[in-house]
């Protein structure tokens, strides 16, 4: 879920950088020395995990996992995702310098929103937790998709159809991310519940 270089207009690019800067700023402020290693290593883990192909029907999709990132990192998701995206650009030419701001916001803002919406519910027991976990994974991608489509549309109104196709292509991913988040949260609650802040 990222926008290629050269697609965004100046104002959208600038807005992306501004929001990303605020998010990264808050994240860095909350990132104390105790958690630098943890954030870095988790950031590396998300980068790597997002390379996993999961089959759906005849196709394969990459995982996004920003719901879980939010649950594990809160605001620190912003710097962690910014760093991971920069590395994806360096290694695979996914995105680049000018789209880095917008791409960070597309993934990190939903992560933070879902953290506030669902982290308290996920700590509960039974069905509530399970439903919240699914919703967290589903909605993190959903919000990201809305942001992505918005960034395209506000860059150039002619991108409307492109944006809607990109958005609908993400619907199956939302469902998969919902299930993956559901099971993954189940795993974490059993094995290391203190990781879910």
């Amino acid at each position: 879920m990222h926008i290629a270089e050269g697609v965004l207009s100046g104002p959208v690019m600038a807005t992306g950088f501004a929001v990303a800067a605020v998010g990264v700023g808050i994240g860095l402020k909350k990132l104390d020395f105790e958690h630098i290693a943890e954030t870095g290593i988790l950031s590396a883990t998300f980068f790597v995990a997002s390379l996993v192909h999961v089959p759906i029907g005849p196709a394969n999709v990459h995982l996004i996992l920003n719901g879980i990132i939010g649950l594990l990192l809160g605001w620190t998701a912003f710097p962690a995702i910014a760093v991971a995206l920069l590395l994806q650009a360096v290694f695979f030419q996914f995105g680049g310098l000018t789209s880095l701001g917008a791409n960070t916001v597309i993934m990190a803002l939903p992560a933070v929103i879902c953290y506030y919406l669902f982290a308290p519910l996920i700590r509960k027991q039974g069905k509530v937790s399970a439903v919240a976990a699914f919703a967290c994974g589903f909605l993190a991608v959903f919000f990201g998709t809305i942001l992505l489509a918005g960034a395209l549309y506000f860059s150039n109104e002619n991108f409307f159809e492109v944006a809607s196709i990109a958005a609908s292509a993400h619907i199956p991913i939302m469902i998969i991310e919902g299930f993956i988040t559901l099971f993954c949260v189940g795993f974490l609650k059993k094995v290391k519940p203190e990781m879910l802040r």
Partner: protein, 246 residues
């Protein structure tokens, strides 16, 4: 350490070669035969390609040249390897890399479930394997919280639950204490009907569990230069009391 009865070759490697991308060959024209019920040790330096060899055998890496023959049949396509992997179990160098379910029982049952067993069957089989390894109490423990030695034994259980004919064991003793090593020795010695090929840096352990110890050099297994046994010093607590060695 007597010679086993002459028996049929179960697994043969012929002219096997492999290199990681943009690296020189790490396995180079390697020939090797593992007979039925044979127990072979390999002791070789770090980086000589032992783990790589094991991964080649079960098809996790693809050789650049050479043949893998199992039970008289050449294995080359992924479909063949899928069948091979049911019979040839690999114990990873790091047990941590092999366990990824929250509880021990789930982890052990994963293989049998993938082989198409029903939940009840998989569960029964897993419990039996755990019992055989003396791990009955562990079924509901969280794998991640087990000690290094316990993880190793559980990893072995996950392999045994696939009911393999051949075991490939990659440094099963690294970081294990004496008691756990002894347990492993006893276990391995009870696997009379299995063949195994085992890598270890510890000669003492290999002499107690294998019939031959070979080494690797320049990407080949040196079968003709077998390692010899002789005496040297060894430190031991309460050396006067009866005790065993590893």
């Amino acid at each position: 350490m007597t010679e086993p009865p002459a028996s049929a070759p179960l697994l043969s490697l012929k002219g096997l070669s492999f290199n990681y991308p943009e690296r020189p060959a790490i396995i180079n024209q390697l020939d090797f035969v593992l007979n039925e019920k044979a127990h072979i040790g390999i002791a070789a330096p770090n980086g000589s390609g032992k783990s790589t060899l094991f991964h080649l055998i079960v098809g996790l890496l693809k050789p650049s040249a050479g043949k893998i023959i199992y039970n008289g049949r050449e294995i080359s396509k992924e479909e063949d390897f899928k069948l091979l992997r049911r019979q040839v179990g690999l114990l990873f160098q790091h047990a941590d890399d092999q366990l990824f379910f929250p509880t021990v029982l789930e982890d052990v049952a994963f293989g049998p479930l993938n082989l198409g067993k029903s939940k009840a069957e998989a569960r029964a089989l897993s419990l039996k394997v755990l019992e055989n390894l003396g791990l009955s109490d562990f079924a509901d423990r969280i794998t991640f919280k087990l000690s290094g030695g316990e993880k190793r034994l559980v990893a072995l259980a996950t392999v045994l639950a696939m009911e393999p004919k051949v075991l490939l064991l990659d440094e099963p003793t690294a970081g294990l204490d004496h008691a756990t090593k002894h347990k492993l020795i006893d276990l391995l010695n009870s696997f009379k009907d299995l063949s195994y090929l085992m890598v270890s840096h510890e000669f003492d352990f290999l002499t107690e569990t294998t019939e031959h110890i070979y080494t690797m050099e320049n990407g080949k297994i040196l079968v003709d230069e077998e390692l010899h046994i002789h005496h040297h010093e060894h430190a031991h607590r309460s050396g006067k009391q009866p005790h065993r060695h590893i």
